[in-house]
Point group: C2
Chain length 339, copies 2
Amino acid sequence: MRVQLIGFGNIGQGLAHVLLKKGNSLKKKHGLDIKIVSISDITGTVANDKGVDLKRALDVMGKTGKLIKYPGAKKMSGLEAIEKIDADVVIEATVSNVKTGEPGLSHMLAAMKQKKHVVTSNKGPLALKFKKLQSTAEKNGVEFRFEASVGGAMPILNLARNCLSGDEVLAIRGILNGTTNYILTRMLKEESPFDIVLREAQELGIAEADPSYDIDGIDTASKLVILANAIMGADAAFKDVRIQGIRNITPEAIKLAEEGGYAVKLIGEVSGSHLEVSPRLVPLNHPLNVEGALNVATFETDVAGEVTIVGKGAGSIETNSAILSDLIGIRGAERRKRQ
Amino acid sequence: MRVQLIGFGNIGQGLAHVLLKKGNSLKKKHGLDIKIVSISDITGTVANDKGVDLKRALDVMGKTGKLIKYPGAKKMSGLEAIEKIDADVVIEATVSNVKTGEPGLSHMLAAMKQKKHVVTSNKGPLALKFKKLQSTAEKNGVEFRFEASVGGAMPILNLARNCLSGDEVLAIRGILNGTTNYILTRMLKEESPFDIVLREAQELGIAEADPSYDIDGIDTASKLVILANAIMGADAAFKDVRIQGIRNITPEAIKLAEEGGYAVKLIGEVSGSHLEVSPRLVPLNHPLNVEGALNVATFETDVAGEVTIVGKGAGSIETNSAILSDLIGIRGAERRKRQ
């Protein structure tokens, strides 16, 4: 399987680490022989028809932060790499942009038109143009997989599609953003105000310098749109979500809730055609009440009742669990086609 | 899809209810046209090549508790039905027997030899003869699916196999028995001794008249063996599990644990080649700490880290979520073969 990696930040470098560590076992166990034929970041592209030297690429990034410093790297953009280099799969792992979807959206569409399967962790383009991406994939007869775009290592999409296939999903409720969960958990434990806990989280690298993407619910809303479209067959976009963040939550409110048997969590909910992100009371003994930076989602279904999945919502290594299972899924789909 | 149902108790009748309610939507959504061509219980068999009248069968069971009272029912055993009646799939849902595996074991082997796929909720035969069942299925080119045998509506097997396919599962820890979870939860909330809570659970129908199967860890151990074999490629049997139940747990011990930040739960654990069922301390804020009759399992994996799934471990309707997803899986496998 010839793979192009577009974006070589947190997740892309994590993939390189994972392949170095267990590439051989993937080959043995799944017959999945992943060869990274090119890596692109914003500075350039490294290509090698026999497989890029991943260890060297990681070294270069560790030392310089710029892929162009890799000996022999070209000033070729990700888009050019997709259009010019022969490959079976494009992994799109650039930074998410929920306003324009770019550059991920162009990368994905170009890859599909080149008859390349697409695997992505990049939610922006999906929150904006899900139907267009899905129909472009179908038209070009390629797979489009995005387990890593929601909930990181928590396999929420494949769970609904492969494990609850006989069920009708009536509603999904979840904590889809680890940063807000971390902040609300610390506010409860320390009885500290929002601003102080946020600053602490920023110092620890859990919250961004500009935290609004997380704490104002934008990240959760993007993921919610993907869930609604992919699992419940909706045709929703980011603008359809009613969003309220956690800036106004006080430690007093959290304390009061706890005394009543509840935790305050930023919950994304899709129920029928209603999409909402808002702080909610979750019973302390409900499986949705998970602490720290964990992600969680509860499916309400017609046959199984409530099914809940919990996992790490982020992580350079962890998120690649989703990317690997998508690659294995693509290999299965390709085999079925060939038969 | 021509299906034979062997066993018409809690789960079998639940399937009839589910098919009456959503048979049409399964046809529309998945192209899955399930026709129950025979139902057998211990009293006899009802067969109809055009599909048994499920509503009538439920009525007869509701009124008499004996399938033989169905007009036209024959004194034909489940085994004979499997051998004589033409079908694609056998659903084995008789009562589990962890000593001999019978009659389920003979039913499953006979079905496979008749080139019929097998779906089952019956853990006894799997805890005793997993490899034999698996190899018989392979030899006869049929599917063998048993999602309902562990954790009821909690899709634990398909989660590991389909959603964490790129991960190596290093260990599994879980509450696999709802009755013990209910009892331990009540002991905590009411500060009542084991005997009293057990009697209460028996009155509510949550614990059996002979409760040892649940509270002595036998049920959990059976499920653990299935997980070890199916997910971690072990060749384990019931006798390989170190088992300790919850009879000796006192409310004082539970109280003490809670003060220290822990809950006492009957945990089944498979880690490497070690299989153990025993009461364990679970941190109150860990996703494994679920209350009431819920089931839960945490996978420890090499890439994703910890992933936890929570769901209803039993239930006449709920468990059929697993049976439906297995039937849909078989249909997918058949299609792939035909291509």
